[in-house]
């Protein structure tokens, strides 16, 4: 039987898509790289996922997991063809209030989980800016972070167990309630593996109590240095607020145009700081932040008046990437981490690179952990533009690495940064990772050609990996 027939008999007719236009809509995530799906399946159960994996093996076609498709590195783009497995219908939540944990389907939307847990006084801490749409499966696969991960840690700190479908359709449960399960931490290997080792069907996550009180401060500065210095001062003083986010002036203007959140568009930089805890503590901490800000010449410190005001400020921060669409049709976003002490000089270098290429660059970033997100805004339909953006992007990443940075803060490697892996890993490192991949996925069918560049395996005699295909960039 044909691939589609096999899939249809394992699932149902309407959950296997094969019309070319339908496939086209599944051919990319939120990045700039497009693949071409052979077909799309929407699974509802773990058994169905296992069946799809076996069918993929029978037909020797790749299988690419997809959550909400908000990834920014082409992780979910089927660039080698094959089956796109959409998890959006796997959205059960089973909450264990006493243990403050929940088993959640891979397709559950991050914010839906927190909304669901709210009546129990609980929430899921990792809060990527895309949290209103991205899935737990995607969060696990990319080990995603968010503004509030500064104090609480990224996704991996909140995953206790995973149910995963491995090669051969084998279903395993890794980790569990116990704080440390015996043997190697295989669950920890799956987190951040971007769908290259298996398909996560559900996750046992840790839920945290809702914060009794919160203070959110909007601080504006006349220079970017003063803003980042304030952040460094706080961390140096051993004080880690719940969130520390910086936005530059250009970015504020774009967001304000849409949301009217009250961002100081005449300031060079804005720092959004948040502290959570008991009322007494947050009041004191908010005062301390103010003091440190003023010491660094802050122009003004504004305290969010109420929950609605606070929500609006965060909405402004979290929608920043999208707001760029008002300016030009495409954006290319980098995600690197540099030591906080090097933030300002790295940003200057990034700006110089942009100037040299005649490109527009915007900044909005997790200042607390030095996670830079320089955004290049451009129009891909302009002749030669994509090439320019790509080259500038590579130079920017190289500049970050030179300043002691890492390739990715939270968005993962995917395809987009795959060929930059060599800049941060030795041959030996890459070989070790390639062997791990082989151990899990001997046929090389799980999200092939992602993360590891061609020839990662020392003594690599061919294999499936190839350079990023021509025309994958859209």
């Amino acid at each position: 039987m044909s691939l589609v027939d096999d899939l249809r008999s394992a699932l149902s007719h309407d959950r296997v898509l094969e019309e070319p236009l339908e496939l086209h809509l599944y051919s990319k995530d939120a990045s700039m790289m497009r693949g071409e799906a052979t077909c799309v399946v929407l699974t509802e159960t773990t058994d169905e996922v296992a069946a799809v994996v076996r069918i993929a093996e029978d037909h020797r076609v790749p299988i690419v997991a997809r959550g909400a498709g908000t990834g920014l590195t082409a992780g979910a783009s089927p660039t080698e063809g094959g089956i796109v497995l959409s998890t959006t219908l796997m959205n059960d939540i089973e909450i264990d209030v006493d243990n403050r944990t929940a088993w959640v389907g891979a397709g559950v939307i991050n914010l839906d989980l927190s909304t669901y847990a709210e009546p129990y006084g609980l929430h899921f801490a990792p809060d990527p800016s895309s949290q209103s749409v991205c899935t737990i499966g995607g969060n696990v696969a990319n080990n995603s972070g968010g503004a509030h991960c500064l104090a609480e840690g990224a996704t991996t700190s909140h995953v206790l167990g995973l149910e995963v479908v491995l090669a051969g359709g084998e279903v395993v449960v890794l980790g569990g309630e116990a704080p440390d399960s015996p043997g190697l931490d295989i669950k920890g290997i799956i987190v951040g593996s971007e769908g290259t080792l298996g398909i996560v069907t559900s996750a046992l996550v840790r839920l945290l109590p809702l914060d009794p009180d919160v203070r959110t401060l909007l601080i504006d500065f006349e220079t970017m240095e003063e803003a980042t210095q304030t952040v460094s001062d706080m961390i140096a003083a051993g004080f880690v607020p719940a969130a520390l986010e910086i936005m530059d002036q250009k970015m504020m203007v774009a967001v304000e145009n849409w949301l009217h959140a009250g961002f100081p568009t005449d300031a060079a930089a804005m720092l959004l700081a948040e502290v959570v805890g008991e009322t007494e503590a947050v009041t004191a901490e908010a005062a301390l932040i103010s003091e440190m800000a003023y010491k660094n010449n802050a122009r003004g410190v504004e305290l969010a008046e109420d929950e609605a005001h606070r929500a609006k400020l965060w909405k402004g921060r979290k929608s920043a990437f999208g707001a760029l669409a008002q300016i030009s049709p495409d954006y290319y976003l980098h995600d690197t981490v540099v030591p906080r002490s090097r933030l300002v000089e790295t940003m200057d270098e990034v700006q110089q690179i942009a100037d040299r290429y005649g490109l527009d660059v915007y900044n909005v970033f997790h200042a607390g952990d030095g996670n830079l997100h320089p955004l290049i805004s451009f129009d891909a339909s302009e002749e030669g533009m994509l090439d320019k953006v790509q080259r500038a992007g590579e130079e920017m990443v190289a500049a970050c690495l030179r300043n002691g940075g890492a390739l990715s803060g939270e968005h993962g490697i995917g395809l987009e940064k795959r060929d930059m892996m060599r800049a941060s890993f030795t041959e030996l490192d890459l070989d070790a990772q390639a062997r791990l991949k082989e151990a899990f996925d001997p046929e090389g069918l799980f999200n092939p050609a992602k993360i590891l560049p061609e020839g990662s395996r020392c003594f690599d005699f061919g294999g499936t990996r190839r350079p990023i295909p021509e025309g994958a960039w859209v």
Partner: protein
Amino acid sequence: MGWVTEEHPTDQELDACVQCGLCLPLCPTFRLTGKETASPRGRLQAMNAVRDGLFEVDETFEHIMDFCLGCRACEPVCPGMVPYGRALEGTRAEIVAQRPSASHRLRAFLLGSLLGSRGTLNVGSTLLGFAQMLRLTELAPRRYRRLTSGLRPLRGRSDASVGHSGGSGAAGSVGLLSGCVQDQWFRPTNRAAIELLEMAGYRVEAPLAQTCCGALAAHDGKAPEARSLAAINTPAFDGYDMIVATAAGCSAHLREYAHWADDGESVGSRSIDITVAIAEAIERGLLPRVETDNGEIGIQDPCHLRHAQRVTAEPRAILEAAGYQVVEIDPAGMCCGAAGLYTILQPEASQELGNQKAEQIRSTGVKRVASANSGCEMQMRSALGDEVEIRHPIEWYLDAIEAARTRVNVAAVKDPS
């Protein structure tokens, strides 16, 4: 083939989408199916693909677009400010031009012969009134039965509002859009609008020269029809300080008249929804606040008020002035599935969304619901039957004023004794 009409989605409209996906969770059809092909981002990508010549306006494309409610819940959340509703109207116009098909003929009948002519509607509605009385509506084919079961009783209707004129004019003048279906099936809403506006000191006229606003035609890709209706209404509403419509779908469309008629901006800039007009009059002290406690009332936000016009505070303010405690039914503001002709064209999805909304209402325990759009009212009534009483916020308000007056009068009569 790309685009063939002048209505097509513009490059600017399509390029505004960066595919961030933030609109997905707000989209009812995405929530129902989990499919990218049923999401705003997917639909915009499909439009893009046609524009770029990668795909044709074919059957798959038509299905993808037909399944869209046009509820525009994807707009307020979009940081790129993609004008999705406009792009969809343009796309529907392209589909009509490029794919003359059976479902369009059904729509053409509904739109052309029914809504365009006041005479036909009047006769039809009177017949429908008899049919309701004799319970003949229960014999209608299923997809229509859900529509008829949501109607208010039509027999014994008050006079049509069209042609009305009255009121002092101390506060200004109002041109009332009577509406095609609205004036036949929801006369009490129009009557309440007239009474309240006149009470507030407005001169209210519902000019005879007016016709259907053209919203349904525009949403359905019948751009020429929408244009000719707008061309009739624009002069008909000349000269009024404001133009008021009592169905959210109509007020939203009037506000976008700049796109539909040469001088349409003059209509667009003066048009407001009745809830905004009444809330403003209350705010300015032109209309009273009722002091009595009338208990709880659920509020349902019509998409064309909440998403298309970003109006949410006003209907709540009216209900509070009517002495009610407002209970939120659905903080996310999901579409109830009525969506113009969607009830008839996509009966299954429409019914599922209607049932979801009914469940939300039941779980709040309210027995009264306010909805500022007649289509939503019918949809909810057909899902809930007599369990809950559903009316327009201004009708609840007018009732509360009248009840309070009676009480005052009774008190006044009792007092001297």
